[in-house]
């Protein structure tokens, strides 16, 4: 599918999605509530068939966290980028999509570990790299005067 067709399909599935053109891939900003539903449709719909999640990133912005999902289809070879934003920075929560792409479970653990975004319905929401009790280092306001030598 071309980007235009993808846009139409996604707009049909989720009316409140915002699109951003002109970037490298088609970028879609999805409301957090619709994320799981939209992902499932995109995965199982034969026309879109996004079966390969190749990157899952958490980004820290001043007022919210954004989680970026890069989706690829091994059948049609088209790419879409979904972005979901958390409602607040204090209690950042999103829905897990690990039941759709199992690889997402470990990526979500990484996002939780480094940014502190929690995922609903995740079976195993533990820290991944760091031990319990650390802060969330990839947040912009993370400070650690003991361990970090600033330059």
């Amino acid at each position: 599918m071309t980007n235009e067709e993808l846009k139409l399909t996604i707009a049909k599935l989720c009316s409140s999605a915002e699109f951003k053109d002109g970037a490298q891939f088609l970028e879609v900003i999805v409301p957090a509530a619709d994320l799981h539903h939209l992902c499932r449709e995109l995965r199982h719909n034969g026309e879109t068939a996004f079966d390969y999640l190749f990157c899952l990133t958490g980004v820290d912005y001043p007022t919210y966290f954004e989680v970026v999902y890069h989706l690829d289809s091994t059948r049609h070879r088209h790419v879409v980028v979904l972005k979901a934003r958390t409602a607040s920075r204090e209690y950042p929560v999103l829905d897990t999509i690990g039941d759709i792409w199992p690889t997402a479970y470990s990526h979500e653990r990484e996002v939780y570990d480094l940014l502190g975004v929690r995922f609903n319905n995740h079976p195993d929401m533990r820290r991944l790299f760091l031990e319990d009790g650390w802060g969330f280092p990839l947040r912009k306001d993370y400070v650690d005067p003991v361990r970090i030598v600033e330059r």
Binding site: F129, L130, R147, I148, V149, E150, R151
Partner: protein, 186 residues
């Protein structure tokens, strides 16, 4: 190795063992410290403790071109209880540090530690702005020899190893401290 002929009166406390040949066979003459030092420095068994890129260079040192068995450094042991040299080849972070400490504690005496590479020496490329890396393995366990480089070349490894061997030669276990002092006074 330094086994050479010498007269009995010439033996000093930290000399290499000497072989004197007599009728009916030869005799090895040495004081205990020298004997132990000689044996220890020529059979350093390293622990295979590799965490990052330097571990690959350590593997290369063990392979056929560089071949560390020339130095008696040959048998890399996976278990710390059979080894007497930890070669810290790679980054140590705060999660790994307790493990390294525990490995060191489990090691039988006499034990030696070599910090291979910039990471183990000082944190290396991860010195600034990293929240997870310990800035040098010597914050965790005492280190005998530091080898710079990122990764150090095999030649650098050998130089470090020879420095360690020199250090072991000078170690004393049986000479009493009092005696040492009086020797110094003389």
């Amino acid at each position: 190795m330094g086994i050479r002929k010498k007269r009995l009166s010439e033996i000093e406390s930290n000399d290499s063992p000497i072989i004197s040949t007599h009728e009916g066979g030869s005799i090895v003459l040495a004081n205990l410290d020298a004997m132990f030092g000689w044996a220890r420095r020529n059979s350093l068994w390293p622990l295979t403790f590799g965490t990052r890129c330097c571990a690959i260079e350590f593997m290369a040192v063990g392979a056929s071109r560089h071949d560390f068995s020339r130095f008696g450094n040959e048998v890399a042991r996976p278990s710390v209880r059979q080894a007497d040299l930890i070669i810290i080849s790679g980054t140590i972070n705060y999660k790994m540090a307790p493990v390294l400490k525990r490995l060191y504690d489990q090691m039988p005496e006499p034990k030696y530690v070599m910090a291979l590479g910039a990471c183990a020496t000082s944190g290396g490329p991860f010195y600034y702005n990293s929240y997870a890396v310990v800035k040098g393995a010597d914050h965790v366990i005492p280190v005998d020899v530091y080898i710079p480089g990122c990764p150090p070349r095999p030649e650098a490894y050998f130089y470090g190893l020879m420095q360690l061997q020199k250090k072991i030669t000078k170690d004393r276990y049986y000479t009493e401290k009092k005696l040492l002092k009086s020797e110094k006074l003389k």
